[in-house]
């Protein structure tokens, strides 16, 4: 079977395995040897697809952005059917994520902190991702409160990011409720 470089089985296994391991144990804590062992891939194959570990990291981040986007595209409408309000649906989806097994915070926050270098390609990718993610949040806020709450979107972004990191530290999904409550009050105050 002919495969292009970006759709090979080995490559897919590498990215998915690295994503799982990096998220669970940290990017720096997981070595190349463990990734290839759990992916069932030879070392030479890894280095045929990715010149260095940094390139694998970048591929993992891109893969995770797809997964995150897909999750919210599915979970927010699902919760909305019950919650009605888009804001309530957003934070319900967040809370569901916080409570899911294996939750260990936001992989993108984690990457920036682990990589430490502001010029690292992974760090720069995360900056781009957060812009896209917060644009998605802004759209959701618009849908919830209309143009009246234009200035609300940045606050919702801060609440979301803060809830994620607090859920990680406290090992509790409760910050989602705190953030939702604050977002609703801000929306009401803004004349939504």
């Amino acid at each position: 079977m002919k495969r292009t470089a970006n759709t090979s089985d080995a490559r897919r296994r590498l990215v998915e395995t690295a994503d799982r391991l990096f998220y669970a144990d940290g990017i720096r804590a997981v070595g190349i040897d463990r990734v290839i062992a759990e992916a069932g891939v030879a070392k030479a194959t890894l280095y045929a697809h990715f010149p260095a570990k940094d390139d694998l990291i970048l591929a993992v981040l891109a893969h995770r952005e797809e997964a995150v986007t897909a999750y919210f595209a599915e979970a927010v409408p699902r919760h909305r059917r019950r919650a009605g309000d888009p804001l309530r649906a957003l934070f319900a989806a967040l809370k569901e994520w916080f409570a899911s097994p294996g939750f260990r915070g936001c992989a993108f926050q984690n990457a920036v902190i682990e990589l430490a270098d502001p010029a690292h390609p992974g760090t720069e990718f995360v900056r781009g991702h957060k812009q896209r993610f917060h644009a998605f949040l802004a759209e959701l806020v618009r849908a919830a409160v209309g143009p009246a709450g234009e200035g609300l979107a940045p606050a919702v972004a801060v609440l979301v990011e803060g809830a994620v990191v607090m859920a990680l530290i406290d090992r509790s999904p409760a910050p989602a409720d705190v953030a939702l409550d604050a977002a609703l009050r801000l929306a009401a105050g803004a004349g939504g």
Copy 2:
């Protein structure tokens, strides 16, 4: 000069150097060799004071909590003279921190993410620290809006944590303004 174990010069240099290096480059990225080299301390001396690197990490976190506490105890009243409102003073102090050279987020958030293990003593220390820090924030909120805004404190905590991680990712102190604005609106809405 007779020194007790906890006040020796070598120990102080080790903790201060490790604190600086861990914060700048990450706990896992900084090896023992680099710490002792920059601290001007022999390896045997380090292991005489700290049985393992984990113990040094714990000492660093404790040292940093003192530093953070001291910073807010100084900076908030200083900004308050100009800002008037305690909430404004808090977020002005935060913004000053975000804009300071070498800012790389919250060392405690970073530690939890880097250590990855929820049972690591460092992770558990951070949970305790965050409780103490958020209690400090709650007291500050009480001073700002009185008992009317009792439920405001958790939201302020989420806003603060979120602003820190967003300032790190965006390399901008602007999230402090977003968080302040949201906190003020919430305080006003709560009848403060």
